[in-house]
Symmetry: C2
Subunit: 189 residues, 2 copies
């Protein structure tokens, strides 16, 4: 469908369309975002319409969704009515936004549901067991959320350093282990 996109850029867009559809976002919106991420200059709705070969109205709705995810920024040019859209220039910023939004939309409501079910008094053994599983689940999700929140506080530069250092994560966890006085004696591979 796309018109003047190079094969390389097309492949990328198609792949992330498919990926998007595996997450909440739908295929077309995923493609729109992929296009925006790859383009240096902000694009207007018509640019997207043409590049992806989809209807103008579909683009309008897609952009609305991307904006609600805070993944896309709207810009105006002086003396121009037209609106231009762009994705953050920093990939880590994008990832942080994605994580944050999914937390708000999925994790938080889940934790809230679990808490509500946990304050009820179990009516029988079956419910007592069920509540135990829910409790474990709540604990786990809360902890993983904490971790990701800590990681999200790193800025792109810090993350870059971490990356360059290779997989020293093992070392950090070992350190953590020592801090915790872990019983299991297993080195990092």
């Amino acid at each position: 469908m796309p018109e003047k996109l190079t094969p390389m850029i097309q492949s990328f867009i198609l792949h992330f369309g498919e990926m998007g559809s595996r997450w909440g976002i739908n295929r077309t919106v995923g493609q729109m975002y992929a296009l925006l991420v790859l383009s240096k200059e902000p694009l207007c709705a018509d640019d997207i319409t043409e590049a992806l070969g989809i209807s103008r109205s579909n683009v309008s709705m897609g952009l609305k969704e991307l904006i609600s995810w805070e993944l896309v920024k709207l810009q105006h040019r002086p003396g121009e009515r037209k609106e231009f859209y762009s994705a953050p220039g920093d990939v880590w910023d994008i990832a942080k936004t994605l994580i944050e939004q999914r937390r708000k939309r999925e994790i938080d409501p889940t934790l809230s549901t679990l808490r509500n079910l946990l304050i009820e008094t179990p009516a029988n053994d079956e419910e007592a067991y069920a509540q135990q599983r829910m409790r474990e689940m709540h604990e786990l999700i809360e902890m993983l959320t904490l971790w990701t929140q800590e990681i999200q506080r790193l800025d792109s530069a810090q993350l870059g350093k971490l990356l360059k250092l290779g997989n020293s994560i093992g070392k950090v966890l070992d350190m953590k282990d020592r801090l915790l006085g872990s019983s299991k004696k297993e080195s990092t591979k």
Copy 2:
């Protein structure tokens, strides 16, 4: 639709059905899994059919999917033709399987696509820029994958200790910072 499920268990099942549908898994399969997770004893297909009020064939297909995700284990009882299904008893095992499977199904293919596009020689400035974004993206995904893989190596008990210690993750990251000689001077809140 469900018959003899208590309201508490119903709520849980409904919520995780919705959640499942936001991920690759569909609503009904999500409900089936929620039911299995909450039940102490393994269930047979007919139990699920009855509890959720869906067709027997739907249950059969759903179970097939859950098995392909390795989220559910099949068991036989001596002298019984019937098959019984159960979810792991440990929530962390479940989470690890989910993470692992999503990595295989989504992350790995994405990294592979990115690598293929990165070995091409950019035909023009536009492609050169696009490749740069792809490179950053590849780096980031690879690093985050490494982190999660390290975390996945922890067993349930280690994770439990981590949890009980509260959010000491900040401290570890600070430690890491010092190790890296971070420039930014910001304490853990």
